[in-house]
Amino acid sequence: MSSSKRSPIIVEHLRKQAMWDALSRGKRLDGRDFGDQRPLEIEIDVIKKANGSARVKLGDSEVIAGIKIETGEPFEGLESKGALIVTAEVLPTASPHVEPGPPDEEVVELARVVDRGVRESEMVDLDQLALVPGKIVYTIFVDCSVINADGNLFDATSYATVAAILSARLPIFEMQDSKVVDTGQTKDMPLRTIPVSITAIRIGDSVLIDPTAEEEACMDARITIDTTPEGFCAIQKGFAGSFTIDQLKKAAETARIKGEAVRAKLRELTGKNG
């Protein structure tokens, strides 16, 4: 059962006061403006044994995503489509507050929100990934591991997932005597677009994007917005606070503008369009 708990990170009262003072002057403790993202580093093909992989550093948050492509049964109701599954794990390396064990609800939410962004954007054309429609389809696992956590794991994990998919090569499987055979060859992934996630939080009346762990410990509410070049494909409001309608519409506009910059970076890095 889900229960309300506070951030395990305790921010000293003086530090909190300093943060509020800075925010009231339109600045953040690390000197950024409300609409500034931390430095974003993306590296692809970091795991050679994976079909695709990426390592993302967003400020001090660091995530590795690896893709394994296999064959399996299709999802119920989606018999003629390939299956795409995004998982996320926050490794015990990520911070002193993480303990090994089954994922708690925050990690379940993280994985589901990242999965939703990729799925709803229809980034991967799953219609092209059925081998024997109704029986055998490509199954794409994107597994993400958070190595170091310093806030905004939603965006860092999403970028790692998207970059890994963009970098992936699809193994060519064939049916021989009703058995699946790996031909050892690969081809391009069938891609349609590039979704980009932008997360903002509200502290008092200030709405800021790409929060650090310290800022998240002071937040009143959070919103994650996934965009494509055409518009919006997934949204998740999180944390036990609220937004005004006006704040939401502004955050949506910011997500489109800032998302376009990240999308350009992903295009340049991988040579893929979308």
Partner: protein, 228 residues
């Protein structure tokens, strides 16, 4: 297109609970029961300055087309979380330090929009339990079907694709406490969809208030209607 499915809320349907509500929202049949404020078990979960809110959204195995495994799914874990976060801003948890409030939402029959219906019912159940609240939490979804923005999409419309945007809203305070989106919307459609969902929330709000009035001032309301 701007119409809500038929919504009916009955207050106080679970006798043992401190507060409860049963909502029929289209084909959804959802029960919400509230226990608390009461002692926290395990005790270490208690907070010194406010109440712990706990929330469970669960679907009965017989609530869906194919049997649902009764063990909580990842979807249910997530919905339990967003539901709690949608309710919490409305509650004066600081009024009940060291205590817990448990909200149980059981989906007996599911249709599209069960999380919104569940939130609406839970909010009424919390009011029925006499918990101090800033406002009722109204909830409603809007979405896109055949490129048109419509209010309150049901199961079949949802599965056809398009987009689905569940929203929870505090009408008196003008605050959004739940916002999710599955599916693609242009910037114009996004604004239209959000506005439409808010208008749906306001309709649900009226039904919630009426249901509470019916329980607590039943005869008076009837009398008032007669004289009008």
């Amino acid at each position: 297109m701007d119409e809500l499915r038929e919504v009916k809320i009955t207050v106080g349907t679970v006798k043992n609970a401190d507060g409860s509500a049963f909502i029929e929202f289209g084909k959804n049949k959802i029960l919400a029961a509230v226990y608390g404020p009461r002692e926290v078990h395990p005790k270490h979960m208690a907070l010194p300055d406010r109440c712990v809110l706990r929330c469970r959204y669960h679907m009965s195995p017989f609530s869906t087309d194919t049997r649902k495994n009764p063990a909580p799914s990842r979807r249910e874990v997530e919905i339990s979380k967003v539901m709690r976060e949608a309710l919490e801003p409305a509650l004066m948890l600081e009024d009940y330090p060291r205590a817990a409030i448990d909200v149980y939402v059981e989906v007996l029959q599911s249709d599209g929009g069960s999380r919104c219906a569940g939130i609406a019912a839970a909010s009424v159940a919390l009011a029925d339990a006499g918990i101090n609240m800033r406002d009722l939490v109204a909830a409603c979804a809007a979405g896109k079907v055949d490129e048109k923005i419509v209010l309150d999409i049901n199961d079949t419309e949802d599965k056809e694709g398009g987009a689905d945007m569940p929203v929870a809203y505090l009408p008196r305070l003008d605050q959004v406490t739940l916002l999710q989106l599955d599916g693609n919307l242009s910037p114009e459609q996004f604004n239209e969809c959000l506005d439409k969902a808010i208008s749906g929330c306001k309709m649900v709000y009226e039904i919630q208030k009426k249901a509470l009035m019916q329980k607590y001032f039943g005869n008076e309301t009837e009398m008032k209607e007669e004289t009008q």
